[in-house]
């Protein structure tokens, strides 16, 4: 064995190839099957797509680095299920490019935050977290309420997402900007619900009907978290102790 190594350490290129070969095995064995085995991601026929406004909100979530403090992954542990709701299934983050599972909970998990609080609570919390949770250490995101949302490039965003496998249709791409504006207004729009389903929530999320702001988008995203599919609620397996 050391004889073989004696030769290896005298040939630079052999060493390079050896390192590449040895290092490639683990990743190939663990990652490649995830793309082929059907069991990796469950079926969820009722799975919805993120609307353009929710995509914009998700991008704000990413931009602000929310994942640094909030996970979006309820583990199969009894206390987590009791605290946050049914544990997360793979299918729920199927359309998340990239995923936001996180690795640290300085704040609580957000995988099922959608619908848990009112829009007013979310807005008040983002403007000043300590106004609603007096001991919170979250920074305030006051500026979201006064920053207009950029909507003109949403079609490009949906197009890019469809290239990585999210099934947005050409029609959705074409109407992305209009759909985002429609969802942030009180009456919504017929096109929006035909394209994204009748369960789509359309309203003035930030309480300010004059303008579509980043606050509208982020709250719309937070309110859909955990509600793209009901598969997790229908799942009957008990969590681990």
């Amino acid at each position: 064995m050391f004889g073989l190594h004696y030769r290896l350490e005298k040939h630079g290129l052999a060493l390079v190839l050896g390192i590449i070969f040895v290092a490639a095995i683990g990743g190939l064995v663990e990652i490649a099957p995830l793309f082929t085995i059907d069991e990796t991601v469950e079926d969820a026929p009722d799975m919805r797509l993120y609307t353009p406004l929710e995509v914009a909100g998700r991008n704000i979530y990413i931009r602000e680095g929310c994942y640094a403090c909030h996970s979006q992954m309820i583990r199969t542990l009894r206390d987590e299920v009791e605290r946050y709701g049914p544990y997360s299934l793979a299918v729920e983050s199927k359309y998340d490019h990239p995923m936001q599972w996180g690795s640290k909970r300085t704040g609580p998990d957000l995988a099922r935050i959608g619908g848990k609080y009112s829009d007013e609570w979310q807005v008040a919390h983002l403007i000043n977290p300590r106004a609603v949770v007096s001991q919170s250490i979250m920074p305030s995101y006051r500026f979201l309420a006064s920053t207009a949302l950029r909507t003109d490039d949403l079609g490009l965003h949906l197009k890019a997402l469809s290239r990585v496998g999210v099934p947005y249709t050409q029609e959705m791409v074409t109407n992305a900007t209009a759909d985002a504006i429609a969802q942030a207004s009180a009456d919504g729009g017929e096109g929006l619900t035909t394209r994204y389903g009748t369960a789509t929530q359309a309203r003035v999320f930030d309480g300010n009907p004059g303008q579509v702001t980043e606050m509208d988008a982020l709250v719309a995203y937070l309110q859909i978290l955990g509600r793209l599919t009901n598969a997790a609620h229908a799942n009957s397996q008990p969590p681990e102790e």
Binding site: G27, E30, G65, S71, S93
Partner: protein
């Protein structure tokens, strides 16, 4: 700098910088979003600035051919200065975010200054800025000495060093503006990733070409580690960052992977960024500077071989232990745990190898703070790899994951292992590279050592406490069978530990600042009376190169 380049190399440098300026100009002028334009402007300023530097030296006389009888250390010197600069900057930002968690109003209500935008500045500045520059500086130095040959080329070492720092600069300026793809330790967006790819492949080619010119039959141990570091980081970086940009002139892109596949790819990357950037690279540093400083041969050559291949093979399996109890298939989680446990063997192999090398040199450890930096680093390496294997166990992970225990663990590694071995290596490298007898102030090295050790210990103990307390509070039930604590209760319980952590960080920062001062004073100080260049030169002069 420029005077060392031949006139052909100077012209080539101008050409490359011209192309880079053009790139920046196009980015700025045709951008679809403002952030992309800003970064284009930054690229332009960077390239034009360097262009002026090259132009100012364009007419300097050709370097004499006697340079081939010397090692090429200019890039290492610049890299060392950059290393210390990034260290102080990155640690300062880190301490700032630590205080922010204790006193959240330190964000001043500014968008750019919130925790989520500042934290990646800290991680990138210390990991890639400080760590990366230290690795480039020492790898250039080590590969030349152990191969008894000059670096293969004079232009590409500069391209790698300065290009890499442009990558760091684009990254840390991007986060406060809101440019991030939100993959932990891989936050830079697609165009910055592409640039790093070019720089890194150049680094690999430079390294392989230098190895090919060696005047020694064997490739020295340290070079295996540096080589594995360069190769595997390239593999990780390329796979993890495959993404589709919104438009060629838009700062945002979408990862090719989604959901569970993305999670696995990300932690395959993230865990092995630790393995190959923060471990293999620095082991290369340790395997060269520790024996040299201790004036002892490495304890066991066979142990080095087993350790090296063990780490290279097994680390790549271990990433999935970051995803215990998640939606990742169970079999992958279990595989990750298994390999994380076996990984303890090669890790402790290297740690033991280092400490056993010191056997017989303990009096030097006592008297020489520089060697003590390296010894304590090896101890922390052993402790952290043990803790890492322990935390990969499913049951332990269910408690530690998502809490500050993980933060404490990575900082035991980052401060105790990575930073201490780097400071040790730099303190032995700086006097020899600048031809000084010793560091400007031995007392300052000593002070740095104790500040760094105290800071690390305070930090790690604070995080162990807060992590375990938080993990236990989350799962505590009252006698009635309901959860005993709300989430905010656990946040409140963390407060004293967050203050302690910030104090520990401040001590560590103070040490690094003293170190930076000491390095600077050494550089500015007088040259040693007798310049014993002696045998610190390439073995054979290669005519006509």
């Amino acid at each position: 700098m420029v005077a060392q380049l031949t006139s052909v190399e100077r012209q080539f440098a101008l050409l490359v910088l011209g192309l880079l300026s053009l790139c920046g100009l196009v980015m700025a002028a045709a951008a679809n979003d403002d952030l992309f334009a800003l970064h284009g402007g930054l690229v332009l300023v960077f390239a034009v600035g360097l262009g002026f530097l090259v132009l100012s030296g364009l007419d300097a006389p050709e370097p004499s051919s006697s340079r081939f009888s010397e090692y090429y250390d200019d890039p290492s010197r610049v890299a060392i200065v950059l290393t210390m600069g990034w260290a102080v900057f990155g640690l300062a930002v880190g301490d700032w975010v630590a205080w922010m968690l204790a006193y959240p109003d330190l964000t001043f209500d500014a968008a750019w200054a919130s925790f989520g935008r500042i934290r990646p500045i800290h991680t990138t500045a210390v990991i890639f800025g400080f760590g990366g520059n230290a690795l480039i500086a020492t790898s250039y130095h080590v590969v030349q000495r152990t191969c008894r040959t000059r670096l293969a080329g004079q232009f590409s070492p500069w391209f790698v060093l300065l290009g890499y720092n442009l990558f760091c600069l684009l990254s840390v300026t991007g986060y406060p503006l809101g440019i991030t793809q939100s993959k932990e330790y891989a936050e830079p967006e697609w165009y910055v990733d592409l640039w790093l790819c070019v720089v890194w492949i150049t680094y690999l080619v430079l390294y392989i070409r230098t190895l090919a010119r060696r005047r020694e039959p064997h490739i020295y141990v340290a070079n295996w580690y540096y080589l594995a570091f360069i190769i595997v980081v390239a593999m990780l970086h390329i796979v993890n960052n495959i993404a589709v940009p919104v438009a060629w002139n838009h700062s945002r892109a979408y990862s090719a992977f989604g959901g569970v596949q993305d999670a696995m790819t990300q932690w395959w990357y993230g865990h092995n960024a630790v393995a190959f950037f923060l471990t293999a690279g620095f082991l290369g540093m340790m395997y060269y500077y520790l024996p040299v400083r201790a004036q002892r041969p490495i304890f066991s050559y066979r142990m080095s071989i087993i350790s090296f291949w063990g780490i290279t093979f097994m680390y790549m399996w271990a990433g999935s232990h970051h995803l215990h109890y998640t939606a990742l298939p169970h079999w992958v989680q279990t595989l990750g745990m298994t390999f994380s446990l076996i990984l303890l063997v090669p890790s402790w192999g290297s740690a033991a190898n280092a400490l056993l090398t010191l056997n017989g040199a303990w009096h030097r450890v006592r008297d020489d703070a520089t060697l003590r930096f390296m010894m304590v680093a090896a101890i922390f390496y052993g402790l952290t790899t043990f803790e890492g294997s322990f935390m990969a166990i499913r049951a332990v992970n269910s408690l530690s994951h998502y809490t500050d225990w993980t933060v404490g663990h990575v900082h035991a590694g980052a401060l105790g292992w990575v930073a201490l071995i780097s400071f040790g290596a730099l303190y032995s490298l700086v006097p020899s590279l600048w031809g000084r007898e010793r560091m400007h102030s031995a007392w300052a090295v000593e002070a740095h050592f104790w500040l760094a050790l105290a800071g690390t210990l305070i930090y790690v103990f604070a995080m162990w406490n807060s992590g375990v307390i938080q993990g236990l509070m989350w799962r505590t039930y009252d006698p009635g069978g309901t959860l005993a604590y709300s989430f905010i209760d656990t946040v409140v319980a963390m407060h004293p530990y967050y203050i302690a952590r910030a104090i520990g960080g401040a001590l560590f920062l103070a040490g690094a600042a003293i170190g930076a001062w000491n390095v600077w004073m050494t550089i500015r100080g007088p040259a040693a009376a007798s310049q014993a260049a002696g045998d610190d030169r390439p073995l054979t002069v290669l005519a006509g190169e």
